[in-house]
Amino acid sequence: MTNLKKPLIAALAIALIGGTTTNAAGISSDSLHAQASPYRALSSISTFAGTGQFDDLNGAAATSSFRAPGSILALPDGTILISDSGNQSIKQLANGVTKDIAGVYVDKDRLGLPVGGLLDGQGDESFFNHPNGIAADDQGNIYVADTDNHAIRLIDKQGNVKTLAGNGVEGNDDGVGRAAKFHSPSDVAVAKDGTVYVADTLNNSIRAIAKDGTVSTLNAASTRKAKSSPDATVVVGDFQDGALKDAKFNEPSALALDSKGNLYVSDSGNQSIRYIDLTLGTVTTVAGIAASSSTGSLYDADPLYAQGGYADGAAAKAQFNHPTGIVATDEGGLVIADSLNHSIRYLYHGIVTTLAGDANQNSGSANGIEKNAQFNNPTDVALTADGRILVADLLNNEIRILRFAKLPVGLPANGKLSISLDGALVKVDTVLIQGTTLITTDNALKVLGITLPKVIQITKGKDKKNYVSLRAAAEQAGLDVEWDKAHNHILLRHQ
């Protein structure tokens, strides 16, 4: 456990941006962890943009509103791009202000929802149809998986929207540009060499668009059939590791390139995270139920999808519930928006942990510390240059931010016990009795703002002051208490 340190491989981060960003900070190596669960990094979650109202309003981040923002990307210059799916637009959030950069609508459907379309042109005269995953290359071009247009769109530096591949009609054809067909693509990632990888969700495949616009399919098409209703049989996704050309996926929903230029795939329908080694041409399952189930039994519960669940721990035994957006970190980890567990998960060194989310995986909108904060169908994550995590909180219609707890500056050099409240060092008188840290009632009230509960054990000190157990007082007053043994530091946090 160290204080936030300088990025180790910041140089690499610049080469790979997009749904692809690797990032400066090491989440596991740089953050403070809960004593009770050594894998849980301490953090707090707040609303970064959006009022939560299901609407379309630009302006100051706090008063803007979105309709189901599905995807998010943090650019190296600090600009944030948001795929505001329900508003059929791509928004930019820079200097605390949101604005549309592409995609407009004029009509609403019978449910009152904006109607999309397929039209290239200047940003404010272009149309999308439920845009989703976003990526950017190092030339300043932005790529968008335009899901219901079954197309991959490109917003160039001048703000012109073009169609890179696909033509509005679903299908599964390789070819050049508009001749190629996709089926509900939901994410893109751009490699250093300009290749655009596509999570072609309902074709259950990973596609690649070469620089010259030629679309190819990297893996084998699924041939598995299942009944989607008593009267309809459809081809559904499947599972197969091994050679990439033979590999199978089930509704892959998101992509992320790591620092080696290889692809992580959020294989939602298989409730797993897959890894494509593009050099070796192989696919492995790095986390989730598919890593430890026999292929035959994956679809026992539901013919369409593997069974979702929730379990932290060894990656092969870890469980997800429709993992979606992902982003790789510098330290070789992967942040995962675990949509239906309403949680943000982290895969690092073969261990899956929960960074934030409701203790019972219930949906909600509460802000607060990592174990109390709630999300409602978080579908994407992005990393800012300074190591914070942005979350596209789809059904809360908000962008949330997760800030990792840090040790305060100015810890006593001699290793003496120190205490901080919400990150700021506080000066209180403490004594230690039988392994219990006590503080004076006066300090509790005046420094920590704790109103003592009626029922609490008070101990008279030698100095004639009244002392109470710090943990008992703080917890009864609703504060979270964590102890960082390495620095002999007690963190008190408002929940």
Partner: protein
């Protein structure tokens, strides 16, 4: 929709699944997942399975789970029923919902529906304590407990509208302004809440008023209005209970204010006159809704009248549209509060008007500016649509039994129509609402049926009907049939599915099994209560037997018992009020029937019985600081006291009890009678004669143990005239007592140990105290430097961290000093209970002593 014939078919209740009734009960297992089953469907409904991208066709019998989303298209309808709690949610046309939470958590069934757009009617049964049923819109969180509530979301304007027909809904604004004004309020029956946006008002109460039928009907689809009417009986019943309970409170002079978890309702029923007005509104609510719906052509008059007729058959309060009086907007409303609301509303309305106008201007300006782009967009749309149609790629739609006679079959010669089935008979079903058809199909042939509200067109002989409707066995029940329904009976060749014969049967009311009249709680029977022991229940009182009935009969069962047919043999056991009913083996339903002398049903009611909470099987360890703290000294000498938290009593416990003893008290078994005395916080406890072991138990009302902890009260040190110096860990043979002031020489010259010392006791952090043998010890005085010290030499004694060493003097042996006791905690660096400098143990801010983390 292309070539597919688009017949708007209403697949009424229970078509496909459930059409052929079997006696399957509701054996809901206790797993984490729960499900809502699609029990009715009409038009086009799509499902996206949790997290999946694939759009699936909905079908009756489809099981929906947490995370699934449901989209109901234009002129469509879906009814979802929870398979465990039997809560029913009806979704109207143009509705989109997400089943956010649908699971068991702890002992509770949790339901949370996020309404994105459209119209949702929820009929929620009374929930048990740990259950929760929530409806969430972008503007508000609505928490429902045993309630019939309508919620409409207009996603274009962002408005959330909710109207409560029965029960109480708690509403919390869904706002990020984490101000303390986001307090929940209660919406009472006959009230509505209409909220334009989440931050529109700081106090939701401003937007609460008596239901305006026009506002209700305008955002509600005809199918939902129909569903509301169908639930009239359960609405009436819940309201009758509400009115009766309020009436009772008025009569007793009790507080009539409606409140729940700190939230209150503005609906006042403080006196009988006001309550009568509210009651009248409740009686007229559905009538007003239907009338408005008919007047505004929202619903088909003939159709709704038919539904009303059916509902009236079993209703104790039949609905007569000619006798509806308008709702009284002042019933239960505080006029001052209303005045303030009206002023606030006027302001809001003006602001909204201005905002709407600005929005409209911006929209039309955008359209103007985008004129060229929009034209190109239309061309693109046309191209995509054409390409899709050529490829046969259209949205999947709900399969409706294909009718072959479409307009484009004129070119090829039309195949012959199937011949008409004759010689069939139609009779009453054996379950309520069911009918039966008897007809023998030819060899190698089989039967299929489809039920719909409108007439069929005869299929032709080339039609493969294997996917049409459901298979039917002659004489089986066809459930949920209404008079006037059409049943298409297909005789098909089993191997090819081709239709051989067909008939369109219009079901008459005479051929549908009817339910007996319902028994009414309080009038006909008192709610079941516990009988003479656990596993036994009883109806304490039963009312007058209805006309035609001569006795009562009951059947107790684990699963709900279906309503029998009026006049059918009930098959229960005879019953009279007050007699025990065996509810063992998890039985929780009692079917009560008033029958004639031969046991045939005259009137009926299925009553649910919830047994009183059983004591938990595992002993709860009470712990500081959740359940108690202390003990500390009491108000008198020889007393101590505990602080106990009633709020944190473990589940199943209703009070605390204590026992004191001079020695350790054994941990009692859960459910055992504790035999202590009832204890309330800070009461003095007699600890005289060394009764310092205090056992604290949380018990149920009859004193049976639920939780327990053993505490020990250490006698306080009266004053610091002397103190025992720090003692280290390990083997020790010397104790030093320092006095704060000089002592008379007559004292310090005496080294007779037995004169001074009464006892030396070591109390370990865990375990029973031990005494150090005084006869093997000796004392000496050190008066060389300042105040005197008493040096006690003891036999080698091993001391552990946390041990408390206490030295007690005989009284009156130290001159004027009344203090007789001093003590120190080993290893803490503290003496006489006073904390000292940093000790040896690690500084976890924990509570120490193995107290579990809350």
């Amino acid at each position: 929709m292309g070539m597919r014939s688009k017949i708007q078919m209403i697949l009424a209740a229970g078509l496909l699944l459930g059409l052929v009734t079997s006696s399957t009960g509701y054996a809901a297992g206790k797993t984490a997942t729960r499900e809502l089953v699609i029990t009715e469907l009409a038009g086009t409904v799509h499902i996206k399975s949790a997290g999946g991208a694939l759009l699936r066709n909905a079908f009756v019998g489809m099981k929906l789970r947490q995370g699934d989303s449901v989209q109901v298209d234009e002129k469509s309808f879906a009814q979802l029923t929870a398979s465990d709690s039997h809560d029913v949610v009806s979704l109207g046309s143009d509705t989109s919902v997400v089943l956010s939470v649908l699971k068991n958590q702890g002992n509770g069934k949790l339901t949370k529906l996020q309404i994105v757009a459209g119209s949702v009617w929820s009929n929620v049964n009374k929930l048990s304590k740990n259950d929760s049923f929530k409806l969430v819109t972008a503007n508000a969180d609505l928490t429902v407990r045993g309630t019939k509530v309508l919620t409409n979301v207009d996603s274009e304007t962002g408005e959330t509208y909710t109207a409560v027909a029965a029960g109480i809904v708690s509403a919390t604004p869904n706002s990020n302004n984490n101000s303390n004004e986001n307090n929940p309020i209660l919406i009472a029956p006959s009230q509505q809440l209409s909220l334009d946006s989440r931050d529109q008002v700081s106090d939701l109460e401003t937007k609460v008023s008596i239901i305006d039928p026009n506002a209700l009907v305008s955002g509600t689809s005809s199918e939902i209005i129909e569903a509301i009417v169908k639930d009239k009986a359960s609405i009436d019943q819940e309201n009758a209970e509400f009115i009766a309970s309020q009436k009772d409170k008025i009569a007793k002079g009790a507080d009539t204010a409606l409140s729940r978890d700190g939230a209150t309702s503005s609906l006042s029923t403080s006196d009988q006159d006001t309550l009568d007005k509210v009651s009248k509104n409740l009686d007229n609510l559905i009538g007003n809704v239907v009338k408005t719906a008919v007047d505004t052509n929202k619903v088909d008059k003939g159709k709704i009248e038919k539904t009303i007729e059916e509902v009236n058959q079993t209703s104790s309060k039949p609905l007569d549209l000619n006798k509806v009086t308008p709702l009284d907007k002042t019933a239960g409303v505080d006029p001052d509060l209303q005045k303030a609301k009206d002023a606030e509303l006027k302001k809001l309305e003006d602001a909204k008007k201005a905002a709407d106008a600005a929005k409209k201007t911006a929209e039309s300006a955008a359209k103007q500016k985008l004129a060229d782009a929009l034209k190109k967009l239309e061309d693109e749309k046309a191209r995509i649509a054409k390409e899709k149609e050529a490829l046969g790629l259209n949205k999947p739609s709900t399969t409706t039994p294909t009718n072959t006679s479409t307009s484009n079959n004129s070119t090829p010669p039309a195949p012959a129509n199937a011949t008409e089935i004759t010689g069939f008979t139609v009779a009453n079903g054996t379950v309520v609402g069911a009918t039966r058809i008897s007809y023998a199909a030819g060899t190698n042939n089989s039967l299929r049926i489809v039920k719909q509200a409108t007439a069929f067109t005869t299929p032709n002989v080339t039609f493969d009907a294997r996917d049409t409707g459901v298979a039917y066995v002659s004489g089986n029940n066809i459930a949920n049939v209404s008079a006037g329904d059409h049943i298409g009976l297909y005789e098909i060749v089993s191997s090819t599915g081709l239709v051989v014969k067909f008939v369109d049967i219009t079901v008459s009311g005479n051929n549908i099994a009817v339910a007996p009249g319902a028994l009414t709680p309080t009038t006909d029977y008192s709610l079941p209560e516990q009988g003479s022991g656990s596993g036994k229940a009883k109806f304490a009182t039963l009312g007058q037997l209805p006309t035609g009935a001569t006795k009562w009969q009951i059947i107790a069962s684990v699963a709900p018992i279906a309503t029998p047919i009026a006049g059918s043999s009930f098959g229960g056991t005879d019953y009279s009020a007050g007699v025990d009913i065996d509810m063992s083996g998890g039985k929780q339903f009692i079917a009560l029937a008033a029958t004639d002398a031969s046991g045939n049903v005259v009137r009926f009611k299925l009553v649910e019985y919830t047994a009183p909470t059983e004591t938990p099987s595992e002993l709860v360890s009470l712990y500081f600081p959740k359940h108690y703290s202390g003990p500390v000294g009491g108000s008198q000498s020889d007393t101590a006291k505990l602080y106990v938290s009633l709020a944190n009593l473990p589940t199943g416990a209703t009070k605390y009890q204590i026992l004191t003893s001079t020695s350790s008290i054994a941990t009692p078994a859960v459910g055992a009678t504790f035999g202590g005395t009832d204890y309330s916080s800070e009461q003095d406890i007699d600890i005289s004669n060394g009764k310092q072991h205090i056992g604290l138990a949380a018990t149920d009302a009859s004193g049976k143990v639920v939780g327990f902890v053993l505490t020990y009260y250490t006698l306080p040190v009266a004053q610091d005239a002397f103190s025992l110096s720090n003692i280290g860990v390990g083997s020790q043979n010397q104790l030093t007592i320092s006095f704060t002031s000089p002592l008379a020489e007559s004292i310090t010259s005496n080294t007779t140990l037995s004169k001074f010392l009464s006892s030396i006791v070591v109390t370990p952090a865990m375990g029973a105290p031990t005494s150090i043998t005084l006869s093997s010890s000796s004392i000496g005085w050190d008066t060389l430097m300042g105040s005197p010290k008493l040096i006690i030499t003891i036999p080698g004694t091993t001391l552990n961290p946390g041990d408390v060493v206490r030295v007690t003097f005989n009284s009156g042996v130290l001159g004027g000093i009344t203090q007789t006791v001093c003590e120190t905690t080993v290893g803490s660096g503290s003496g006489s209970g006073v904390p000292g400098g940093p000790g040896g143990s690690f500084p976890d801010p924990g509570l120490g002593g193995g107290v579990p983390h809350p």
